[in-house]
Structure formats: structure tokens, C-alpha cells
């Protein structure tokens, strides 16, 4: 059987991207299908050129776009309890912010209920995924990550309510999250076929929903931002939304890194492994807040930003990589400069060069310009949220 060369594979991948196939799982499936078709034709004696023309000639106009539309409709039509809970959580989050803006009571309580719903949605999705995929491995790994996220939410909820024990929750969550993410990363690295790994399987299945959820979180974030710009005051409740976006998008980046390591043997190497580990450790540690000296947190954030930007750009397989590369250079420069300002190496007056509206718009644009670059989009979401978090201080 004739096999496609690397150059021919790249030509095929580029063709599918040009055809508008942006949903990665479907793009991978069409890639495999067309590769099999081309290789079969080449085995029958056709050249790649002839096989290509026979294969492509059989396709009607906009064929892949229509398939993608059908598939996305099927996925989006699925109404699940988890989806309902997620939308309810988002709605409450928005209402909570509006209440805060209007100085109404119960803003904090609404945020807590929203957190509770998010936790329940996460748990029901995971349990239903475990129940439907009993033959897959990684149940404990999945539950450990979910457990860690829920304890972290509980810790911050305790902080809102000024209850004792908040720090214990947060410390436990950070330990559980780092340990479980490390175990999952090493598992993916060692068992790289991707066959039967529950965590990456469920992540791939729910990726469109996760991306939608993270993008929708930008709405309460925008409301909060406008509020703080007008009033000049910030508050812990508003800041928490940013922390949710940062960690949600951060986990999205890590999970994408796992999936790419599973599917692309060239990306399964020790450099990517180390970058992934550094990214999730540095992404999680700042949640310890005042338990870590502020200088340490600033250094950790900078290390995360530099490592994650390299990781996201390196793993990116989208078309026209110019924009991702530019963003992967600019964003770490901004955050490193921010760190130097906070640590006193650069005068405070230089802040205006790194925290201004044009840069904010650039980051917002970056989120939308990277719509076809999954890992870079996750990184841009983290960076945008972190930028806003600092900008409004």
C-alpha cells in the first residue's frame, strides 16, 4: 500500500483547513479518511497527483463545510443537565456582577451559587463520562482533577464568606491539582497512543462546549471591567471571575497539550513534557495568594507566561502562524515588563507603556484572531484575563 510522504500529508492538511474544516476532531477524521483513500488509489498504481485529482474531483462544492455544519448542529443540539447547569452558572455570574455594579445586596451570595452550579456541572459531566466510558482508563486521574478544582472553588467561596479554613482548602486544592495534573501528564507521555484515556477523550468531546463557556465568561468580565474603569474601584468578587477564566483557559491549554502529545508523535518529546509541567505548576501556585511572597508569585507568573506562550505556539497546528508567533513574542514581553515594574527594576511611570487601551485591544483581538489556533487561543484567553486583572489594580 502506498504511503503519503510528510509533504503530501501537509498538503492534505492545508487543503482541509482551506476547505473550512476548523473543528479539529472532524478535521483529523477527514484527514485519516482522505489519507486512506489517496493511499488506496496510489496502491492501485496512480501517482499522488492523479490520486489527489480523482479524490478531490469526487467532492461536491463546500462538502466539508456542510459536513462540519451538520456535525456541529448535532453536537450543539445535545441538551444535557451539565449544559443547563453551565448556562445557569454563567447567567448567575453575570447577574452577580450587575448586582455589584448597582451596589445591590447578595452579589457575593449569587457568585457562590454560580460557583456551586459550575462545580455540579463539572461533576455531573465527569460522572456521566465515566459511566458511559467504563472501559477507558483514567477515572481516578479525572476525578482527582475535578476534586482539586472543586476544593479550589470551595476555598475561594470561604474567602468571600470570610470563613475560617479557606487557606487550608486552597493549599489542599493546589497540592491535589499539581499532583493530579502531573500524574495525568506522565500517563499521557508514557501511554501515548491515546487509546482508552478517559480524560483526553472527554476533553476532545467537550472542547466546543468548553471554548464556548470560556468565551461567554468574557461577557461578565467586560461588564466588570467597565464598572471598575468608571468607578476606579475593584473588588475581590470581580477579581474571582478573572481567576476562573485564567484557570479554566489554563486547564484547556494543558489538556490540549496532552491530546497533541497523544496524536502527534513528533510533539511527544521531553521539551514539550517539561514545558507542560512548568506551565501547570506555575499556573496553579499563584492561587496560593498571600501564602506565597508577592515577589515569588510575580516570578512564577512570568515563568508561566513565557513557557506557556512557547508551548501554545509550538503545539499550534492552525493555518498562517504569523499572528500566533507575533502574539507569542509580544505577550511575554508585556508580562516580563509588568514584573520588572512590580519588582521595582523599571520605574512605575513606565506602566503607561505596558498597560494601555491599544494593548488591551490587541489582546482582545488576539483572542478572536486565534480562533483557528486552539492552543494559542487558550493562551490568549489566559493572557487577556491576567492583563485585565493587573490593569484594573
Amino acid at each position: 500500500m502506498g504511503k503519503l510522504t510528510q509533504a503530501q500529508r501537509e498538503e492534505l492538511r492545508a487543503f482541509l483547513v482551506r476547505q473550512g474544516l476548523s473543528f479539529k476532531p472532524l478535521q483529523d477524521e477527514m484527514f485519516d479518511h482522505m489519507s486512506c483513500d489517496l493511499e488506496d488509489r496510489m496502491s492501485d498504481g496512480s501517482s499522488f497527483h492523479d490520486a489527489w485529482h480523482q479524490s478531490v474531483a469526487a467532492l461536491p462544492d463546500n462538502h466539508f463545510q456542510n459536513i462540519q455544519q451538520d456535525v456541529m448542529e448535532t453536537i450543539n443540539k445535545q441538551f444535557t443537565v451539565s449544559k443547563g447547569l453551565s448556562f445557569a452558572a454563567l447567567g448567575l455570574l453575570l447577574i452577580s456582577v450587575v448586582f455589584k455594579v448597582l451596589h445591590l445586596q447578595f452579589s457575593g451570595e449569587l457568585l457562590l451559587v454560580s460557583f456551586g452550579l459550575m462545580a455540579v456541572a463539572l461533576l455531573t459531566t465527569s460522572l456521566s463520562g465515566i459511566s458511559l466510558n467504563r472501559e477507558k482508563k483514567g477515572t481516578i486521574g479525572l476525578l482527582a482533577v475535578v476534586f482539586g478544582i472543586i476544593i479550589l472553588m470551595a476555598g475561594f467561596s470561604f474567602k468571600i464568606l470570610h470563613l475560617p479554613g479557606a487557606d487550608v482548602f486552597v493549599i489542599t486544592a493546589v497540592i491535589v491539582l499539581i499532583a493530579s495534573l502531573l500524574a495525568n501528564t506522565l500517563y499521557v507521555y508514557q501511554h501515548a497512543s491515546g487509546k482508552g484515556n478517559l480524560l483526553t477523550f472527554l476533553h476532545e468531546k467537550y472542547t466546543p462546549g468548553i471554548e464556548r463557556f470560556l468565551l461567554l465568561l468574557l461577557i461578565p468580565l467586560a461588564v466588570y471591567k467597565m464598572f471598575t474603569l468608571v468607578t476606579g474601584s475593584s473588588n475581590f468578587v470581580g477579581g474571582l471571575i478573572l481567576l476562573v477564566v485564567i484557570y479554566g483557559a489554563g486547564l484547556q491549554l494543558i489538556a490540549m497539550s496532552w491530546r497533541i502529545m497523544e496524536k502527534q508523535p513528533t510533539k511527544r518529546n521531553s521539551t514539550i513534557l517539561i514545558a507542560t509541567i512548568i506551565s501547570f505548576v506555575c499556573m496553579t501556585l499563584p492561587y496560593l495568594g498571600p501564602l506565597l511572597p508577592v515577589e515569588a508569585r510575580i516570578a512564577i507568573i512570568v515563568v508561566f507566561n513565557i513557557t506557556a506562550s512557547w508551548l501554545a505556539c509550538n503545539l499550534d497546528a492552525g493555518p498562517r502562524k504569523v499572528v500566533p508567533v507575533i502574539l507569542a513574542i509580544i505577550v511575554p514581553i508585556v508580562f516580563t515588563s509588568w514584573a520588572f515594574i512590580r519588582l521595582g527594576f523599571i520605574p512605575l511611570s513606565a506602566s503607561v507603556f505596558f498597560f494601555n487601551l491599544p494593548l488591551l485591544f490587541l489582546l482582545v483581538a488576539g483572542v478572536f484572531l486565534t480562533s483557528k489556533h486552539g492552543t494559542m487561543r487558550a493562551f490568549m484567553l489566559i493572557s487577556l484575563a491576567a492583563y485585565i486583572f493587573e490593569y484594573i489594580r
Binding site: 485519516d32 479518511h33 489519507s35 462538502h63 451538520d70 482508552g196 496524536k263
Partner: protein, 120 residues
């Protein structure tokens, strides 16, 4: 054979039947098996096959796994327990239906099975 209108109504059952006979199959394999069994009379298009596979998966009838084959990700489909049960029912129903249609096409005076059940 120009049988697209017939294939549309039976594709789900064809997929369920093939997967009932095989532990797991990937998309291209399904199209090749259908072409082989139909002696190249039926050629499934991407547009017909994949949306149907995703719908069956969304309904909880199929489960998927991804494996790396020849340096590319290959998605395999297999029946869930529910899918296996439904496959039996649908195959049986389609068999009865084709018998009825055959009877009608043979211009028999009366089919020996009732369409009422089918329509219910």
C-alpha cells in the same frame, strides 16, 4: 445505482449492522465495506456517513476511541450496549420492510406482513 434516496433512510441501520458484526470500525473502513458488500453499487459520501456517525454517537448508540495509526489519529466507532440492542431491532425491522417492499414490487395481491406495525 442511483439509490441515494433509499440509502438516506437506511444508512443508520447499515452502520449499526456493520458495527454489530465488527468489534470496531473507522469511517473509511465502513465506506469500503459497504462498497464491497454492495459490489460497488453503493458508495457512501463523507457527507452522508460522518454526520450520521456523530448523530449515533450523540444518541449514546456508539462509543469512540482514537488510536495512532501510520502517524495519524484514527477514530474507531463501536456499539454501546444500548446500540447493540437497537441494532438487533433495526436490522429485524429493515428485513421485514424489505420483504414487504419486495412483495409489493412482485405485484403480489397482498403482502403477508402488515405495514401498520411499521408505521406505528
Amino acid at each position: 445505482m442511483s439509490g441515494n434516496e433509499f440509502i438516506k433512510g437506511t444508512l443508520r441501520t447499515i452502520i449499526l449492522k456493520l458495527l454489530a458484526q465488527n468489534k470496531q470500525m473507522y469511517g473509511y473502513e465502513i465506506t469500503q465495506r459497504v462498497a464491497q458488500l454492495s459490489k460497488d453499487e453503493i458508495k457512501l459520501t463523507y457527507g452522508a456517513l460522518y454526520p450520521t456517525l456523530y448523530k449515533l454517537e450523540a444518541e449514546g448508540l456508539l462509543i469512540t476511541t482514537t488510536e495512532i495509526v501510520d502517524n495519524r489519529a484514527r477514530k474507531y466507532y463501536a456499539l454501546t450496549a444500548e446500540g447493540k440492542k437497537l441494532a438487533k431491532v433495526k436490522i429485524s425491522e429493515l428485513r421485514r420492510f424489505t420483504e414487504i417492499i419486495s412483495a409489493i414490487l412482485q405485484d403480489s395481491t397482498k403482502p403477508n406482513v402488515s405495514l401498520k406495525l411499521w408505521a406505528s
